[in-house]
Symmetry: C2
Subunit: 375 residues, 2 copies
């Protein structure tokens, strides 16, 4: 993997760049839709390609439990298994071990946890997680990390940060010995909870390992948005500017804009597709819900001028009808629309950075998006 | 609507024909997928067009209750509302009044019933049902009929048949006065339960009205297949050969073949899509289920050589994984495959009739399809 920093904004930390990955180039800042089980929820890959996505996220925790490494190994990795011929980034599963499993026991060696599917016990180590992602064939892989909730006591956050760094060291050793770096890139994950000194230490020690990219973990877990923005602004100075920065788990329009403003290049989130499955769809004037009765006789598209499949072919009234009738296609249409909206947003962000008007775009977009007076 | 009978098989009652409808021509015998709420379940219209379907069925009962006639009227009919630019046949809702509603009260005037959605009371008359289908803009509409379960006592079956004929008379009067025949065709529905004399009487009296086509109702409701085939074979002689015959609610491969053999031109059924949503998929060697563990490591398509989206892009192992992970896309893939399978079956049937080898095709297909020794 290579990363080229193409341009830096003069008035903010916004950056324009390009990732050169084994399955094609990806312009940054980029939003990566999440296909937890090796597919987006309610959207097929043709529909993803039609929007234009070049890079998706999948999840090692889920894929490890189902279909399992034997199926993925026999299939020749997730690209072959799924038929997705573009890039895949995989989360290590660290976050899911902490968020989904009823039982876990963390030690310096690794983490013992129970499967959310059947309660069976499994043990993840920094090495095994890299090994499994090499079976997946992820273009970008994440190391095992320990993610703590916000708020939490300082000593616990510090211990988790230290453990994350120790685990990263082991992951890097294994990666250096066993993985073809041309085919798979390993990022480091910066932790430290909400404590600025821990964040700084984690960033400096993680970045000293000279990895292909750096993730910012443990944010967007329920804390105040302002805390997240503050940490991002603070971290900007500690991450080498020639390396991509990936803010994990972020995907609302306002968070994407604030992330970009603070120097983030990559984002992922389940929000746009989950929101779509709940009837929520993005518009330039904010998000709204298709169930709203004001759409009953609204024979215009979800968003006038939107080029997504749903907006080109259907109306709010029709999609509302389908949603209320529990038709699966409604979930497909709203998910497509939301992913198109974020794709277009990121393209517009990149263009604005290119044209030295990101800060203006940021202000205008958010002014319209967050002022929902029209609904 | 015009129907052209192109060819009759010499050794069976199989027929080749063409319907010329307001939204394009349709070759018969034809299978019509069901989009109860104005869309197929789990499949969008682009995917329907890609397979090749020219004619779908929707349901007046469901559309009357949701979105309701006001929405459909304001939208300018179901074609405009849904964006489906090809032909639509609508069932009158008679069957659903009897199968779905907790409460109904049938009189000569019409049928009072409770909505399956909210229990609200509604009254269907032969006239109102035609009027509502004119709002829908159905290319082919069905009259209100009284459908009885099999088995039932002769006097009840006879009374329902008489009422269906009376209702048809009123529907035809209303249709003649109020509907543009170039835009919408009204079929008659032959009832009579399993009683041959009632079926004969219903067929003769219905066909004496010289309508654009004739439906065969009240079959495929749980009776022995042999009874259905026998009734179809018997009815063949009473329906004018220059009119299309539509067997309502039928859609398994074996029933389609037997229907065609007995002179049926049109079929509809929810089975292929519902089966798909349950993991069942059609193959030339019979139907099977994707959950089966033998597909865990099967990296071949659902059916080798099948041209459907799912088979061109994905493997059994992958679709099994998605299905087990409750991914919506699995339902889409299996529904597409099953609809492609029936589309291909009907095309092969038409070609076999064209080439004077339908009976051979019938025997060979069923021999392979019903002999599931390979599973």
């Amino acid at each position: 993997m290579e990363f080229q920093l193409i341009k830096k904004s003069e008035k903010s930390s916004a950056r324009l760049g390009q990732l050169r990955l084994p399955h094609g180039s990806v312009d940054t800042p980029v939003f990566m839709p999440v296909g937890t089980n090796g597919i987006m929820k309610a959207i097929n890959f043709d529909q993803m390609r039609e929007i234009g996505y070049q890079l998706i996220l999948s999840n090692a925790y889920h894929l490890f439990l189902r279909p399992g490494s034997d199926v993925l190994k026999k299939a020749g990795g997730l690209h072959n298994f799924s038929g997705w011929d573009r890039n895949i980034l995989t989360d290590s599963g660290g976050f899911q071990v902490f968020s989904l499993s009823d039982f876990r026991k963390v030690s310096d060696e690794g983490v013992l946890f129970s499967s959310f599917l059947d309660g069976s016990r499994h043990f993840f180590t920094p090495e095994s997680v890299v090994e499994f992602q090499s079976i997946i064939g992820s273009d970008i892989m994440m190391p095992l990390d320990e993610c703590t909730p916000i708020p939490i006591d300082y000593p616990i956050a510090k211990k988790a940060m230290e453990r994350t760094l120790n685990w990263l060291n082991r992951a890097v050793d294994y990666y250096n010995q066993s993985i073809d770096k041309e085919k798979q890139a390993l990022f480091g994950i910066i932790q430290g909870n909400k404590f600025m000194d821990l964040r700084k230490e984690s960033a400096l020690r993680t970045c000293s390992m000279d990895l292909p990219g750096y993730s910012i973990g443990g944010l967007s877990v329920g804390e105040d948005k302002e805390i997240m923005y503050e940490i991002l602004a603070y971290l900007d100075q500690f991450i080498p500017e020639n390396k991509p920065r990936y803010l994990m788990g972020v995907g609302t329009p306002e968070d994407l804009l604030n992330g970009v403003k603070n120097g983030v290049d990559m984002f992922d989130c389940i929000f746009p597709t989950r929101a779509g499955r709940n009837g929520t769809f993005f518009t330039p004037k904010g998000k709204t819900n298709i169930k709203n009765s004001m759409y009953k006789y609204d024979f215009s598209p979800l968003v006038e001028g939107c080029q997504c499949y749903a907006c080109r072919n259907h109306t709010k009234s029709y999609i509302r009808h389908l949603f209320k009738a529990s038709e699966i296609t409604a979930l497909n249409f709203l998910s497509i629309h939301n992913l198109q909206f974020l794709y277009d947003l990121m393209r517009n962000i990149r263009q604005a950075i290119e044209e030295n008007r990101f800060e203006q775009f940021y202000a205008e977009f958010l002014d319209q998006y967050l002022n929902k007076s029209s609904f």
